[in-house]
């Protein structure tokens, strides 16, 4: 039973010419047949959906009813498919209403509301001087389908979602994650759902610069506007240093001042680039979102009243 000879060596089964040709032909036929079609994970023999759902509740430490989790993981397309199958089988419309579960659209809406509300509060608390458009841009990035689908994929919802295809589409992944948050809110309380949002969605900002997420097209114009609102003088840019002016690697360092008061400085290959970057630097300093600033303390948000400590 135990294979003692190595496969594919002169001691192994490929030493005979006919066997080599046979294997080669098999290999070519396999290549011709193409890749295997994608299959549902549930079609494999080692699959117990109830056990998977039970494990899912324990994975995130949430105490919740299995039935509500089952509803949260059921996509609308799955329900459509089932009703379609039933009509094809000749069942009446009255029998179709007796399904014991619903789809997750409502829960997803509820979860999305919670997530949006909490994320906005957290960002406004931690970056109080950051303007509203900037926070909107960061929110859009965090709530976007690609981000949420990526998070949902990494949390292992891919195999748990019940939908019409073997691999759920990004929309379904997004709905499933928000529905899970909604189910947490339904079974436990609001604070637990918000903790989930802060643990898995807000942490997506780590290692990312929120100034880059909010792309400012005309930084100098915005800087003038912000200074005007604060009742300060218009910004003036001054050349501080320059080296290699006539060479390829020229560097200019430009500073931005308002009424001889330093706002920010930056380097650039040309004077216009350096000026623009200096304006960006000044904005960063004004909004208090520079790299030197401490990151969001994800484990201590309750200390600041954003989360209720349990």
């Amino acid at each position: 039973m135990v294979r003692l000879l190595r496969y594919g060596t002169i001691f192994g089964p490929l030493k005979d010419r006919w066997r080599y040709l046979y294997k080669n032909d098999l290999y070519k036929r396999r290549i011709e047949a193409g890749p295997e079609p994608e299959r549902f994970r549930s079609s494999l023999i080692n699959w117990n959906y109830d056990a998977e759902l039970y494990a899912c509740t324990h994975r995130f430490g949430e105490k919740m009813n299995i039935e509500s989790l089952r509803n949260a993981m059921t996509d609308a397309s799955f329900l459509n498919q089932i009703t379609k199958q039933r009509t094809e089988a000749g069942l009446a419309a009255t029998d179709q209403t007796t399904l014991s579960f619903t789809h997750n659209e409502e829960l997803a809406k509820r979860g999305e509301e919670i997530a949006e509300n909490f994320l906005r509060r957290a960002l406004q608390f931690w970056y109080p001087k950051f303007p509203k458009e900037g926070i909107d841009a960061v929110m859009e990035f965090l709530i976007s389908e690609s981000t949420i689908a990526d998070i949902s994929l990494k949390l292992g919802f891919k195999t748990l979602i019940r939908c019409d295809g073997p691999s759920p589409r990004p929309k379904m992944l997004k709905n499933a994650l928000f529905a899970f948050i909604g189910a947490v809110d339904e079974n436990n309380d609001r604070s637990r759902a918000e903790l989930f949002v802060s643990d898995f969605i807000l942490t997506h900002l780590v290692g990312k610069d929120i100034n880059e997420i909010w792309h400012i097209k005309n930084p100098m114009g915005l800087l003038t506007k912000v200074l005007e609102e604060n009742g300060r003088q218009a910004p003036e840019s001054r050349l501080i240093w320059a080296t290699g002016v006539s060479s390829v690697l020229s560097t200019y360092i430009v500073g931005v001042y308002s009424n001889k008061e330093f706002l920010g400085k930056s380097a650039g290959a040309t004077i216009s680039i350096a000026e623009e970057m200096a304006a960006r630097d000044a904005l960063r300093r004004l909004f208090e979102t520079d790299e030197k600033r401490a990151s969001i303390p994800f484990d201590k948000l309750y200390k600041h009243g954003l989360l209720i400590d349990k």
Binding site: V2, R59, A267
Partner: protein
């Protein structure tokens, strides 16, 4: 060479239990975790399901059978977030297959392993995040290597060089330390002398 051979005779991807050949070009990356695991208030175990394929008769799966009889219930109770499947397969080698949250899959052959070794392998799968085919470029990594920013010739350079009138007296005079090393030693020597006399 081994890669060339593997291309001719198509073998499956090697398990992490097998010998790693340094001739192979393995994909490399910096050390990282999925979704910054553990950064929030909780840690999420990345192992989603564990499949133990075992034979009831053969000697090769003796240790596996023993582990299932003695340790499996305890393991399942301690780690409720892992779904454990046991697949009895007649007259074949025992295997351990771990599936992870990120969709990765780990396969470990357990032939002739005893109970303790199987416990080791199970916990090895439990504590990893499921991508051992990656070679780490470094043992540590940070996204922000310097808070102060990269040093340039212009950092900490005084700005008032432009406003001075040249020739400037401060710039012409060479700066010497207040006291040279020889003078310092002489002073120390004299101090010792005075200490001895008192």
């Amino acid at each position: 060479m081994s890669q060339f051979l593997r291309r001719i005779i198509s073998l499956p991807i090697q398990s992490i239990r097998s010998f790693h050949s340094f001739d192979d070009v393995t994909p490399a990356k910096y050390i990282s975790t999925h979704l910054k695991n553990g950064l929030g208030s909780r840690y999420v175990c990345q192992l989603q399901r564990l499949t133990i394929q075992v034979c009831k008769e053969f000697r090769t799966s003796y240790g596996t059978r023993e582990w299932i009889a003695n340790d499996l219930m305890n393991f399942a109770r301690q780690h409720p977030y892992v779904v454990v499947y046991v697949q009895p397969r007649r007259h074949r080698a025992p295997n351990l297959i771990g599936e992870y949250l990120s969709g990765d899959r780990q396969w470990i052959p357990l032939s002739n392993c005893d109970r303790q070794q199987i416990n080791w392998w199970v916990h090895s799968l439990l504590t990893q995040q499921g991508d051992p085919q990656w070679r780490l470029l470094k043992q540590m990594h940070t996204d922000s290597p310097s808070i102060q920013g990269i040093w340039t010739p212009f950092t900490n350079k005084p700005n008032d060089l432009i406003t001075r009138t040249y020739p400037d007296k401060d710039l012409i005079e060479m700066e010497y330390p207040q006291m040279t090393a020889t003078q310092q030693i002489q002073e120390l020597f004299e101090q010792q002398k005075t200490n001895k006399t008192t």
